[in-house]
């Protein structure tokens, strides 16, 4: 709807602004397409490419070469999308190769993209036989059937709306939710069984494709492609436009490009220090208004959207049952050793957890309790020993692979995705076991629900406030939301790290009931790290005492309490 309105508005606009601006805007629509891609990476998936011009420029050169080779041929309409696809694939490749390395998606990724775009600039300016060197490729014929600037304008407008429609669909789809989740807490996403590197690479690929599409249209529109289109200055301007417009929203980068970009072309000469003012404004935005200009309108547009959406009935859809799973078998850790910077955190730890029922791990600080969880879920590498479920060896598997086998985990500090709604938080947990990769493009998956969530919501009504942001919840509610997310996965083995930390006595006893109920309902194994002995007494079928990275004692609560070695650890010895 919104996209259709945008399209009509853009198509009618030339009648209002006159020829000069029609020509100018046609160009800036192309730039806006690149900016939308940058917003997708930066505002949604949370990583910042500094060389988007590279993807724009590569497709522009490709398109220019193709156009010059086959002037007037309508075949070009098939080839241009392919030129854009080349940029997309290149971005995908870069993403896949870079994100999985140590540098990840932090500042190093940004610097790599910056260096790559500078490299491209060097190639473009020196490879005379192909790129025309410093002067570039001139005299590029226009697209067949597009013969004046007005037609070019309309083509650019349609392309921009196409990009916006595609992006808005992705933002609404589960994929977009996952991107935003990755930006907030990448580790948590991996623990739900999604490989964050792949999803980030995908985001980068889409942004590369958008930039490529714009570049492919740039060549015939302008008739000239010079190294400046892959240059640093263009990348820098894109960044400013996106930030000033508002990176977090679909329309932010477009607004930024049209307002700042096209106005700069005009104001540069009329207003002294215009660019200085814009640079200062950019810094102000970075420091104080991450929302950008579009943030001024979002309170109004959000209210409008809520008004329209609440009118529609949002029926819940039953999530499908778990796809892949492991049999309910015991989890065993065999002589596992984990060390960081020369210190052994786990010292030949050998322990077996029964396939059903609640086991509690207790032990003093530094006993290796949380490290054991990190070992199981693949976040800490074992230098020796093994972790197995039944006969299946899962030692040193990537966290997302372990999670897919049916492990659920609740972290020590509540780590729900604060900027997502309660409903999306829960939905991510459901997708983690029920969604196939292509399903993540279907917005209807955001309405998934399951009987477990229904029953939890009956106990905790706040879980029904699906639209509310998780950041609005109190500490106790967040703990419960995360517990609900861990349960919604329907894990075969559930790892809970201090699930009741920071809860009041009343909240704690309710949470204990829920954990007990879930363990019986799911018939799974629950392993809890807990300090509070009152809670352990209530919930544990079996207690493991850890000390110095190894198992010290194991048994029922009574056994443990009668064990002098355990008591000595807690009181402190004289040896």
């Amino acid at each position: 709807m919104a996209n259709l309105a945008t399209l009509i508005a853009l198509l009618v606009l030339p009648f209002a602004v006159g020829d000069y601006w029609t020509y100018q805007l046609g160009l800036y629509y192309l730039y806006a397409m690149v900016a939308v891609g940058l917003g997708l990476c930066w505002g949604q998936a949370g990583f910042l490419p500094l060389g988007q011009a590279m993807f724009f420029g590569i497709s522009a050169y490709l398109s220019a070469i193709l156009l010059k080779a086959m002037p007037g041929s309508y075949l070009i309409y098939l080839l241009l999308p392919l030129a854009a696809l080349v940029s997309g694939m290149l971005a995908l490749l870069i993403g896949l190769m870079v994100f999985r390395r140590d540098g990840g998606s932090g500042p190093f990724f940004s610097l790599i993209t910056l260096a790559l775009s500078m490299l491209t600039f060097q190639i473009a300016s020196n490879w005379n036989s192909v790129t025309g060197g410093f002067n570039g490729l001139a005299g590029i014929p226009g697209l067949p059937g597009i013969d004046d600037f007005r037609a070019n304008y309309h083509l650019a407008a349609v392309a921009l709306v196409l990009v916006l429609a595609l992006a808005s669909w992705l933002y609404r789809a589960p994929l977009g939710v996952l991107w935003r989740a990755i930006a907030q807490n990448e580790r948590r996403v991996a623990l739900f069984g999604f490989n964050p590197h792949h999803y980030k690479a995908l985001a980068f690929a889409v942004s590369g494709f958008f930039a490529g599409l714009a570049g492919a249209l740039y060549a015939p529109q302008q008739g000239l492609v010079s190294p400046q289109v892959v240059g640093f200055a263009f990348s820098a301007e894109l960044l400013v436009w996106t930030a000033v417009g508002g990176r977090g929203r679909l329309y932010g980068p477009v607004l930024g490009t049209l307002l700042v970009g096209s106005m700069t072309a005009e104001m540069r000469d009329n207003i002294p220090y215009w660019e200085v003012i814009m640079a200062g404004f950019f810094m102000l935005v970075v420091l104080a208004f991450p929302q950008g200009v579009v943030g001024l309108f979002t309170p109004v547009t959000d209210r409008l959207r809520r008004y329209f959406e609440s009118a529609r009935l949002r029926a819940r859809i039953e999530a499908p049952a778990r796809r892949e799973t492991i049999a309910q078998e015991p989890l065993t850790i065999e002589a596992a050793r984990v060390s960081t910077s020369g210190i052994n955190i786990l010292n030949d730890l050998t322990v077996a957890f029964p396939p059903k029922g609640v086991a509690c791990i207790i032990g003093p600080n530094g006993a290796g309790k949380t490290s054991t969880f990190n070992l199981i879920t693949g976040e800490l590498p074992a230098s020796a020993g093994s972790v197995k479920v039944g006969a299946l060896d899962i030692t040193n598997q990537a966290p997302y692979r372990v999670a897919r086998l049916g492990f659920g985990r609740k972290l020590q500090a509540p780590s729900v995705f604060p900027d997502l709604s309660i409903g999306d938080n829960l939905a991510i947990a459901l997708w983690s076991n029920g969604a196939r990769p292509l399903d993540l493009l279907r917005p209807s998956l955001r309405r998934w629900s399951s009987p477990i969530i229904g029953e939890l919501a009956a106990r905790y009504p706040f879980l029904c406030r699906e639209e509310a942001a998780a950041s609005d919840l109190s500490h106790g509610e967040r703990q419960i939301l995360e517990l609900a997310m861990a349960l919604a996965v329907q894990p075969r083995i559930l790892l809970l790290d201090e699930p009741c930390a920071g809860l009041s006595a009343d909240e704690t006893s309710r949470a204990v009931d829920v954990i007990r109920w879930a363990a019986e309902r799911l018939g799974n194994a629950v392993i809890i790290i807990e300090h509070d002995m009152a809670l352990v007494r209530k919930i544990a079928d079996r207690v493991m005492v850890f000390h110095n990275g190894a198992l010290l004692a194991e048994g029922s609560v009574a056994d443990i309490q009668a064990d002098p070695a355990v008591q000595a650890v807690y009181v402190g010895g004289q040896k």
Binding site: A501, I560, Q567, V571, Q574
Partner: protein, 229 residues
């Protein structure tokens, strides 16, 4: 003048209050031992006292002056030394640099007594502190903290990983300082060590005080009840 006192302090991380309405004080020449199982908020209490975390309510007074929202580096000027539980020494510096840091002329003469007590430190002077064992780091930190000669010393689990003979020597040292009027707040898991030095106990559970009093009033059995599982 009371070296350190705290009145109904609460605070913690993010939205969570780890410490709730704790009050206590330590007089000159006395030792207050804060005990409790791990995760009950003992280290958090110390961070509130030292200014690493803001107090959400309550008031900390050091050397008779209200600390308010003073930064840790400023609180030291009120007369308090602190030996943290985690990362207790400068790992990148040598042992001797760790000690020389707080001495004006950089000479280690003032540490003679400590070297006699813990010869292992003197042997390791040239070594990078990061290569010390956990217990040796604690000894180094303890030595540094006590050598500052401040009216109040705050120790967070000073005996973690330290051998029993050295624990006894630490206790001797503390008791010697008590006689000289130094006040101590010691967070401790090792009850045997606590018994050697404590004048008062503050037993914590779930961020609250469950037991407070002098060692005459509180026996080992009372504390063990709250410590063990």
């Amino acid at each position: 003048m009371i070296p350190i006192s705290f009145n109904t302090v609460s605070g913690g991380y993010g939205s969570l209050n780890v410490v709730q309405d704790l009050s206590g004080e330590v007089e000159a020449g006395k030792v207050l031992c804060v005990v409790g199982r791990n995760g009950v908020g003992k280290s958090t209490l110390l961070k509130l006292l030292l200014g690493y975390l803001p107090c959400r309510s309550g008031e900390v007074t050091i050397g008779g002056r209200k600390a308010g929202s003073m930064a840790p580096e400023a609180r030291r000027g009120l007369g308090i030394s602190y030996c943290p539980q985690e990362r207790p020494v400068f790992d990148d510096l040598s042992v001797s640099d760790n000690l020389a840091l707080m001495v004006k002329d950089g000479r280690l003469d003032g540490y003679r007594r400590f070297f006699d007590l813990f010869p292992v430190l003197e042997k390791r002077l040239a070594q990078r502190a990061g290569t010390l064992s956990g217990g040796e780091k604690k000894l180094l930190s303890f030595t540094r903290g006590l050598a500052e000669h401040q009216p109040a010393v705050v120790l967070d689990e000073p005996t973690e990983g330290v051998q029993w003979e050295n624990i006894q020597r630490m206790a001797e040292m503390i008791n010697g300082r008590k006689a000289g009027g130094t006040a101590f707040i010691v967070v401790e898991q090792n009850l045997s060590f606590a018994e050697l030095i404590a004048d008062h106990y503050l037993v914590m559970d779930h961020g609250r005080c469950v037991l407070i009093g002098s060692c005459a009033e509180i026996g080992r059995a009372d504390i063990v009840k709250h410590l063990t599982v």
